[in-house]
Symmetry: C2
Subunit: 398 residues, 2 copies
């Protein structure tokens, strides 16, 4: 039996928001008020000098919004947190303990969804908005350490197919500018739906993860290119119209469920040639990887499997897996020769059944592949930070 | 008579906000409602896909906030715009015609100051918040054009004096990575008070201004370094305690009114050596410039005049000027030999009397210097974009 190989997981954040917006807050709110008032500290995701939101050692988040004339102030996430107004005109509310890592959220003031003025801005859920960082036990791997740092470069390039100037971010590893005779492999690394090319550098902390891995000698230095994969896809569901769950339906055989052909063309015909022309890459298949999270994983799956002469390393983070009877595996020996690394990951709180089944089926078929499950995380950035941290050391080991 | 050489202009945005917050909105609001309803278009500073805020050909801004349960929605800027609630639960309000260029603003919902969810985030006024771009007649000079683009690089470095990892942004001109034998002059370019190192790249559009100037052959290519000048300064007024206007008071002779010594030490002892070690600079005084806006101009004035063996080109944008009897000019011939370019600019809506007087007094003393006045702009980014656009072509002409 073939397990579903490409899911709709990248729609989950959106569907979740719609569901939350429609839910009755009183019923879904935490069952009891937070008991721990001590040890709340400003979140590391706050703007400089901002005391709120705060987090404590249990992983609870506490919000505070000064809105003296408001009728109601809520945080719609996590079932809906109703903030309570104090004597000072400030509204305060506390969540249940949250998963470690990074969570998007909003403030709703009298029906208006707005960013929290205490949070730094992050692009996700289709807008520049707020997020809170819950300290994680393993947070050192993405911390700013006193190690040699690479650069995160904002790069503009012209796209013929869209007749537009596009923006990508390029991570160059420490030392890139020092030895200008050295050339590097490249990882193309994609964000999820309703996110953009800023995601991996801001909330993903990809540059810090790589700086730390390289300083520890755990990863080869390589270039990372983060482009905008778009938030629309032809032939598939659009915002506001989620698909029916499961089932391939009446899709013609061989036609991909989602058509990322516009982005695929940019990637193969424009972005890769631009990067190879403007950075000191090793411009061949053995030294080119692609990975992505959620929708970016689905794009990675589709683009790499259709271009195995271009890519040799594949990473799917919460973005589907590859079934043993996938047409790309019709000639297993050819696949094994071309694909150096196949890495699939999910958070433990996601539906991982298909990915695990496919991992085992591939192993049984003699196709070496890696499955990683991030403990106690969902379809969120902590899963994807951990995925990059485990994927990168596998790359370009010659 | 000596005209005041270093003003408090960088406090104006803050003082203005305090004043506006205390003013009665009804009295200060525009005298009449905006008549022009046609031709409003989404502002170019909006997030992708956001229809509001909008601007029209008169330079009016129109805001729309969905807040069905709110009691009042206001934009505190421009004297205070009271938005009016429509049948659909959305609040709408329109400004008087605004100056061309870029303006910070906030939304106030029932007493809560929050970002407008329609605007991209920009750091200014001490927070990540909203801004609106009013189309300008000369906007092509900072537009995204199909020309060769430089890169805007996020760079981390270790600072010994503060025992911290600091961040700066570095613009490298088009072609920097192609001919790795070529070396470049450097401009150190500073933001204003309550802004940070992101200002010149985001709202200042320094990279686009340089790309366009270089493509037109109007500027030499050079590196630009944008660091964080801090928002506090020893020995001077602090937030919430504006100084008495004018007058040097009881300041001991020779002691600078504002002490930027912490940042000056970072600049001369840490940042410049780091940049010279990690970028292909021409690491000498003739090929090093410094400029800044508002507080950054005051820092530029203080740091360059104290280090004329380090800097040869000086740009003060709405950030003071240099009087003919300044101690740095005690030996005019030495000053003329060391200072290749002295450029002072203001917006025409600022108090320009001292700068003009100083410009003329220096010219009379035989010290060639440039004074530029941005037409119909105030202490805002359009003044500083135009200043960079006119300053850059004067630099490093050999």
């Amino acid at each position: 039996m073939r397990a579903a190989s490409t899911g709709f997981a990248w729609l989950l954040p959106l569907v979740g928001q719609i569901a939350l917006a429609q839910s009755a807050p009183a019923q879904d709110a935490p069952a009891e008020p937070a008991p721990a008032v001590e040890a709340f500290k400003p979140a590391s995701s706050n703007q400089g000098g901002k005391e709120y939101p705060q987090v404590n050692s249990e992983g609870r988040a506490r919000f505070r919004i000064v809105a003296p004339e408001a009728r109601s102030v809520r945080v719609p996430e996590w079932g809906g947190i109703d903030l309570t107004k104090g004597e000072d005109g400030a509204w305060v509310g506390t969540t249940r303990p949250l998963d470690e890592g990074f969570h998007y959220y909003r403030i709703n003031i009298d029906g208006a969804d707005v960013p929290d003025p205490g949070s730094k801005p992050f692009y996700g859920a289709g807008r520049w908005g707020s997020a809170i960082e819950i300290p994680a036990e393993d947070q050192d791997f993405y911390a700013v350490e006193d190690v040699p740092h690479g650069q995160l470069r904002e790069v503009l390039y012209h796209s013929e197919s869209t007749d537009a100037t596009r923006r990508c971010f390029v991570y160059t590893p420490p030392g890139y500018d020092e030895d200008t005779s050295k050339r590097y492999p490249v990882l193309y690394l994609q964000h999820g739906a309703f996110e953009d090319e800023t995601g991996w550098g801001n909330q993903g902390r990809a540059n810090l993860i790589m700086d730390n891995l390289i300083a520890a000698g755990e990863s080869k230095p390589f270039i990372i290119v983060m482009d905008n994969g778009g938030n629309n896809f032809a032939g598939g569901p659009r915002r506001g119209a989620p698909p029916a769950p499961g089932g391939a339906g009446g899709r013609p055989p061989g036609r991909p469920r989602f058509d990322f052909s516009g982005f695929a063309k940019i990637m193969t015909d424009e972005l890769i040639p631009f990067i190879d022309a403007h950075f000191r890459t090793i411009a061949d298949q053995p030294h080119r990887a692609m990975a992505g999270l959620s929708m970016g994983g689905a794009q990675t799956r589709q683009i790499t499997l259709a271009n195995l002469d271009t890519f040799s390393h594949i990473g799917l983070f919460s973005g589907g897996s590859i079934a043993a009877d996938d047409p790309a595996l019709a000639d297993p020996e050819a696949f094994k020769e071309k694909v150096e690394v196949l890495f699939v990951s999910y958070g433990s709180r996601e539906n991982t059944a298909a990915a695990k089944a496919n991992h085992e089926a591939l192993e049984a078929a003699g196709i070496v592949n890696t499955y990683y499950e991030s403990p106690n995380t969902a379809h969120e950035w902590q899963t994807w930070r951990r995925s990059l941290y485990r994927f990168a050391p596998l790359l370009f080991r010659d």
